[in-house]
């Protein structure tokens, strides 16, 4: 028993340590510093082990702390009723019930279980019991501490708080015992992550009951809750026997794990299939173009839906919003000043909006999955002049796709400015429209450039470049930061125009200089 637990634990730890090391390797700067023989460097191993230990600790305690704080205490204090303790128990009982169904541990297919049981052939029963016991101990410890802390805060008696951990563990064990019993009957082991439609509906109902009922002033009476807790403790005690006696853990795990692994495989393949699915068959309209223009035209035509649909939809939504505001101004004159002020002061917001509206990453993603992924293996495709020719064509296309929403937003803003009382400075109108168009152009160039310079995908069409991730995340934060700037529209607009034009020029120069070397498949 002891040995099995040690192996199981160290397996889980190794898996986690390697995941940590792998993630470290993905971060561009750190990658350089790290030694080549990453996975056997003792110092790094120790470091990763410490991280792993901290993670285990965080999961056990911080997780429970946040759970009590965010899922229960926060809500209870919102309701401001006299019967705080009853509401606390009400929410606790319902959430714990959901948790018991969703988090059984035993029926959760994880990688470390797969390695231990299927690949290494460890004793399934010992494995199940020891790891399960460990999980239950973590629950007891976490709930004991935070149950007492938060329970007392809401006026529960100490003995009530002490019931919480045992009840939580009890109901979890009851669910497991029931599932095991069910398996003995049907010989079908149900993966806890396969909840099904009815399951989700029940969960939604339980959640609604947990948080909704107290709003209407009704909650499970305190006595009843305490009775439920007592029942769970009792049932849990009875379930221990079932869990202990059950003999077919091996079969159960085999079923869950192999099915899970097959699904994972399919998921991996389905990315490929998914990207093939977006190819539309068209009415075979010939093309008069040649070479790369020909390729591009067919590409755009066959991906019309994925490239243009959302762009059109966004344009439509923006148009709708503009119409609503126009009507608002018309019927409610007090809107005028607000709108006018907004348009003249808050252009920075639109950087953020344009960031979300932009289809850049979607475009490069399809480009790679359905086109470059295969064509990059052909040598002609990698000739510098071909790469640059196609870059130009694509830049034009992606700008077109993004221009539609941008034009609607720009024109809409100008219109709103006019209708809401206008401005003393006629230049404002021009700057408004042009800066929105420039921002749109900037994002188009930006995404295509980082695609050409970093080419983040590997042949298996996963994103492999850490730098790319950093740049994309960085883009988000920069946009977010810009949004908070408080600058008049005229100044900000001029600034963006200058910045965007400069950026586009620099980016294009960089692509011309570097892309022939960087635009490659990644091994």
């Amino acid at each position: 028993m002891n040995k099995t637990f040690k192996i199981a634990f160290s397996l889980k730890n190794t898996y986690r340590v390697n995941t940590i090391l792998y993630s470290l390797k993905q971060i561009p700067l750190i990658k350089r510093i790290l030694p080549q023989e990453l996975y056997c460097d003792p110092d790094l191993k120790i470091f990763a082990n410490i991280l792993s230990g901290i993670w285990e600790f965080i999961k056990a305690f911080l997780g429970k702390f946040l759970y009590f704080l965010l899922m229960i205490t926060l809500e209870v204090s919102l309701y401001r009723t006299e019967a705080q303790s009853a509401v606390f128990l009400h929410i606790f009982v319902l959430l714990t019930l959901i948790g018991a169904w969703l988090n059984t541990y035993i029926f959760n297919p994880t990688k470390d279980k797969y390695y231990g049981l299927i690949l290494l052939g460890m004793d399934a029963k010992e494995y199940a019991l020891t790891t399960y016991a460990y999980e239950m101990l973590k629950i007891l410890a976490g709930y004991l501490i935070f149950g007492l802390l938060f329970g007392r805060m809401h006026g529960l008696a100490v003995w009530q708080c002490l019931m919480l951990p045992f009840a939580a563990a009890g109901v979890k064990m009851t669910v497991v015992a029931y599932s095991l019993w069910d398996y003995e009957r049907t010989k079908v082991a149900v993966n806890e992550n396969e909840v099904g439609v009815i399951g989700w509906i029940l969960i939604a109902l339980a959640l609604a009951a947990a948080y909704g009922l107290p709003v209407t002033g009704w909650e499970i009476p305190e006595r009843a809750s305490v009775c439920v807790l007592a029942c769970w403790i009792l049932l849990g005690a009875l379930s221990v026997r079932k869990i202990w006696r059950f003999q077919e853990y091996r079969e159960v795990y085999r079923q869950i794990l192999t099915r899970h692994m097959v699904q994972m495989d399919e998921a991996r393949q389905s990315v490929k299939r998914q990207s093939e699915k977006v190819i539309q068959i068209d009415g075979e309209v010939g093309s008069s173009r040649k070479g790369f223009e020909y390729l591009n035209e067919i590409f755009i035509r066959r991906h019309q839906k994925i490239l243009w649909k959302s762009s059109k939809r966004i344009a439509g939504i923006c148009l709708g919003i503009v119409c609503i505001v126009v009507m608002g101004i018309h019927f409610l004159p007090e809107w005028k000043e607000i709108v006018n002020h907004f348009v003249l002061r808050n252009l920075p917001y639109f950087v953020f909006i344009m960031y979300f509206v932009n289809r850049g990453t979607g475009f490069t993603n399809v480009l790679f999955m359905n086109c470059d992924h295969s064509l990059l293996t052909y040598s002609f495709y990698k000739r510098p002049e071909c790469i640059l020719r196609l870059f130009k064509i694509r830049l034009r296309e992606i700008m077109k796709v993004n221009l539609l929403p941008a034009a609607v937003i720009g024109a809409g803003l100008a219109l709103l400015l006019y209708l809401s009382g206008g401005t003393k400075e006629p230049l404002d109108y021009v700057v408004l429209v042009i800066s929105i168009l420039c921002i749109s152009m900037f994002f188009s160039v930006h995404y295509l450039t980082i695609y050409y310079l970093l080419q983040p995908y590997n042949a298996g069409t996963e994103i492999k470049s850490g730098t790319y991730r950093v740049v994309v995340t960085g883009t988000y934060f920069v946009c977010y930061g810009v949004m908070r700037m408080d600058v008049p529209t005229l100044v900000f607009g001029m600034g963006t125009v200058v910045f965007c034009v400069a950026y586009c020029m620099i980016a294009c120069v960089l692509v011309y200089k570097l892309a022939p070397k960087t635009f490659r498949l990644r091994a």
């Binding site: 066959r302 991906h303 064509l375």
Partner: protein
């Protein structure tokens, strides 16, 4: 023409896959590249096609005694897993390819002639490539590489997914192509290598070595290869 590899090496993490490879391939021959699983055949091809950066070393073409560096269009590479642009039909892909190479191909023929040549039937020509079978994709890849007439043609385990008839046709085709160019052909099927190739090259422990066939009958030759690889 000769294709010269000098001091080519490549490693992954600690594992040395190619160690200081020196080899000269001569035109007009088909080279059969044999090696165990994981020996580095695909890695070698990827380095030669510059899909992967080698750690060091060079390769160049020597024409009439003049050395010049290898341009992208000198190399044709047919991958073991066929990769074709899924959103095009066979005909469109071929047209695109010929458009691009217009000025390099001497005698451009009608598209259907090419399809007839490679044996892709009329009703398949206007289907999307994503709906082609593995072998048909392989044929398309082979076809465009043949049309481009590269000086060096790298084939990574082709023919494995082709049916017997097509495989036989393809062998004929490769024999017809070898004049004036270098074909390097990796495979695990020894009989195929012996049947088709003029030279057998082993990739073993990170180096390339030619196996001398002189005055051995085929059984002895096979045994020699096996013992060298083991």
């Amino acid at each position: 023409m000769r294709f010269i590899i000098e001091h080519l090496s490549k490693h992954f993490e600690k594992k040395k896959v190619l160690c200081d490879i020196d080899f000269t391939f001569e035109s007009g021959k088909i080279y059969g590249l044999l090696g165990r699983n994981g020996a580095g055949k695909t890695t070698l091809f990827n380095c030669l096609n510059r899909d992967m950066k080698a750690d060091g070393g060079e390769f160049c073409l020597e024409m009439d005694g003049q050395r010049r560096s290898v341009a992208a269009e000198d190399i044709g590479y047919v991958l073991s897993t066929p990769t074709v642009p899924e959103f095009l039909t066979g005909r469109e892909f071929l047209k695109f390819f010929i458009d691009i190479h217009e000025d390099k191909i001497q005698d451009i023929q009608g598209l259907d002639t090419y399809f007839d040549y490679i044996g892709i039937s009329r009703e398949d020509r206007d289907k999307l490539l994503k709906d082609y079978s593995h072998g048909m994709k392989n044929k398309m890849q082979m076809l465009v590489n043949i049309i481009a007439r590269p000086n060096v043609l790298l084939l990574d385990e082709p023919l494995t997914s082709l049916d017997v008839v097509v495989a036989e046709e393809m062998k004929q085709l490769l024999r017809g192509l070898k004049e004036g160019r270098i074909i390097i052909f990796s495979t695990h099927i020894m009989d195929l290598a012996l049947d088709l190739c003029d030279e057998i090259v082993l990739l073993n422990h990170g180096v390339l070595e030619r196996v001398d066939k002189s005055n051995l009958n085929s059984q002895e030759f096979k045994e020699k290869i096996l013992s060298a690889l083991a």
